[in-house]
Subunit: 273 residues, 4 copies
């Protein structure tokens, strides 16, 4: 962190999670529309996937924490050294990763302990994103305006994603709300990459002028284009998954579904939303 | 943009859309009250109207984008020229138009692809308005206080309209919520005209003093009067549509409706809201 | 306005409305609990009361507007005079009164035109309060800090009341939400009186030091005590109305109610909220 | 107040309340899951507990108010002395305690007067927390940045807890929402202790540098760790209560429950949230 890799790593994590969640969410929605008879969403398979997801999130968080602590002159777990705080920015990042780690733990607990409410993992996601917002808000004291701006955008997008995750926690089973939240996760991922390119140009070329207000004006629209890109990714994902499910369904269970499909679909589309 | 026409054009677009949406929304509501037997809201007609609306919105967005790029010394699709950003304000406006274009695309997709949730278009409307708010917030760096104030009012009204569109997306079929959102769309339209008259007086007369705080105090109440005007427009629209539906209904299907009307109406009026 | 009376008048209006609404709201709630058999809430009586309420609100708004325009050197309906705006603060107050007048009109229309949704009056109340907030926010440019502070408190309390009225509009029939909103109306009324005493001491004694921060610290807690007072008013009102309904009910319809009362009440108390 | 003890006292109160509420909330949830047949939650016992809770909260509030007024040179109930306000900070704290006292009164009234809606106590809790936020916002004029920061964190956490209590008031019976609110209560308690250690180090050692921005950066993450601690406390509480209820249930009513448990639990876990 404080380097190109330190921003590209969380960016990649968010992009991977965004891709995966959008695929899972769309798959569930399309299967439900297609009368859920074809065993695509059996309970045990679903449980295993959730546990796997939890493990992947925990390992991402651990990677991030270890990287922050031990790579390229990190704090090496020392918080207070020689009368002053030791590399607090690194500790900030560790704390953010830690709360995403808690999300992974909650994911696993929700599946394995049946008495826990299922929406706990949504709540922990919302919490992790709010904690990220909170830390980013107190993260950029005394830096240049462009540096502050790009981190404020990160705080904004994680706040919005957290708000949507909280809304999902309150009102379940709204597929568009879930996709909207995932679009913000994707946006955050690609924006982390943008921040890496802006603050630490990897080509070795001249850095951006961090105090030029024109650059802020450009990054404002750049942020919107990243958002449009997140929409395109989700749209392509939706088209692909729908095509996949339909073609596979047609092969597996053609006859009885074919009769039911049309009227059911129409009815459900109204009930769903 | 940067001219009288550049503000009058989006103003007219919002006014047209506001008129049309209020008429459509009131028509639907009144027809539902009047027992929806008279084929005013048949499904195929409704589909065609939605597609037409989508096409109109897309052409508005395209007009805006092309106008921003190619008329009166726009950026001509060049983003970076001679070591600096090229006319970023024009690109800002293009991005705003682009997201309204996405709304038109979503409108058409929702009708043609049956597996898509119907409320997608509300979500895209909310998104387009929030993106507009976000861009207006980072749009007025280094300008005069009056210029900043009128653009902040635009940001405020688009934020409120976006919030209401999002509420509509969450809780469907509340006619007053929809009319409230439309009143903000109308307000935005007439405010764009006001901004055009304030910043670029077409008469060639003396411009407003952009640094006089008295002008801000006046525009504050002027904004409220525009809002009251939006209410008047919707009220007149409501009276006209109600009269139209009632008079036409009386001619078409007089007998059986007449018997049912009174008790039903009362019952529905409580259930509706 | 700009005088003791100009603040005491709206304060009295809000106090009267708050008293009346709390009495009406508690009466409805208690009657509903007591099995609503005793004709206390007959439809025609209810309609007449609503229309009367609307007329009273409209006359309050008219009184306020006329007072602002024609008493003690007001603008006399002249907006622009000798090259500058004429007494914009008076016009600000007129605009606020005007939107409360619209609330009265909506109250009457809701009752007389059966096709209008009933919750329109809640929406207009919320609107009037938000417009008040908006105008107060742009009202105190260049004044002393204590003056700004007391007006910001007015903006805060009208914003909160507006928010609660909007929540009521969305989720109907929550008696506590309604009482909470009314407590903010009462708070606004008593705070207007407080502002009148702070800015224009009627005794002719020395005015408060408007730039002393200690005074702000005191008015902060004073605001909370006003709020506690609003609670006391509503509590006393609740006790009185409950006692009135019970004693009157006991005389009018003793026998058949007495048998039903206890189990019903318990059941309803859970269902109600 | 203005001393170590003055911050440790409310901190302890919040920690005790947080522990107690989390235990009560988890106990209710687990009992409901385990088929609520075993008389753990009988009505009269519940009533007595609520009244006891109310009395405890009132005595806490009284302790706090009396301590603020009469210990270590407090205002001794004198508000205005020798031409200036007398120790307004002490009066600020008294007002906060007073609104928490109202919460205790509401707790008792809700149980004893059956006609009052049950959710009144949630509303009063939300109110007490919002009043606390409001007072903390106007509490730190002219102090050092670190002092302002730690009080802003208190305001933030009480605002969030108030918001969640208000959400609970609107949507009842969401156990996770309740636990989330309780986690903020616990966070507030432990943060009060942290503030006491930062501003008034009890060891007599050197105080923190109140104008060093590094300390703010550290306290930012420290705040997050406190939050994680609140999660651990609730998690341990949950595990302990679940174990307690299960082991006790197994002894008391083994046979008939054993048959019903598994299918019921699964069904309820979906319905619950």
């Amino acid at each position: 962190m404080g380097s190109f890799k330190g921003h590209a790593l969380p960016g990649s994590f968010f992009l991977i999670l965004g891709f995966w969640w959008s695929a899972k969410c769309i798959l569930k929605y399309v299967c439900k529309k297609q009368k859920r008879t074809c065993h695509l969403g059996s309970k045990t398979l679903f449980y295993r996937i959730e546990i796997l997801e939890g493990i992947v999130i925990i390992s991402m968080a651990l990677t991030g924490m270890l990287g922050e602590q031990f790579i390229s002159g990190g704090p090496y777990l020392i918080l207070y050294k020689e009368g002053q705080w030791n590399q607090l920015l690194g500790w900030h990042h560790c704390t953010m990763y830690f709360f995403f780690g808690l999300l992974g733990v909650a994911n696993i607990l929700c599946v394995t302990i049946s008495s826990l409410p299922v929406s706990l993992s949504k709540l922990m996601l919302s919490n992790a994103l709010f904690v990220e917002t909170f830390i980013f808000q107190n993260h950029t004291h005394g830096r240049e305006i462009l540096d502050i701006f790009v981190h404020q955008m990160l705080a904004l997008v994680s706040f919005l994603a957290g708000l949507l995750a909280f809304l999902e926690f309150l009102t379940r089973n709204n597929v568009l709300l879930e996709l909207l939240r995932i679009s913000f996760i994707l946006l955050q991922g690609s924006w982390f990459w943008q921040v890496a390119f802006v603050l630490y140009p990897p080509s070795g070329g001249p850095a951006w002028n961090l105090s030029d207000h024109e650059n802020i004006m450009f990054l404002t629209i750049c942020f919107c284009w990243h958002y449009a890109l997140a929409y395109v990714i989700i749209g392509v994902n939706y088209a692909f998954v729908t095509w996949l499910v339909k073609s596979r369904l047609r092969r597996l269970c053609s006859s009885e579904i074919g009769l039911l499909k049309n009227p059911e679909r129409e009815h459900e589309s109204e009930e769903e939303m």
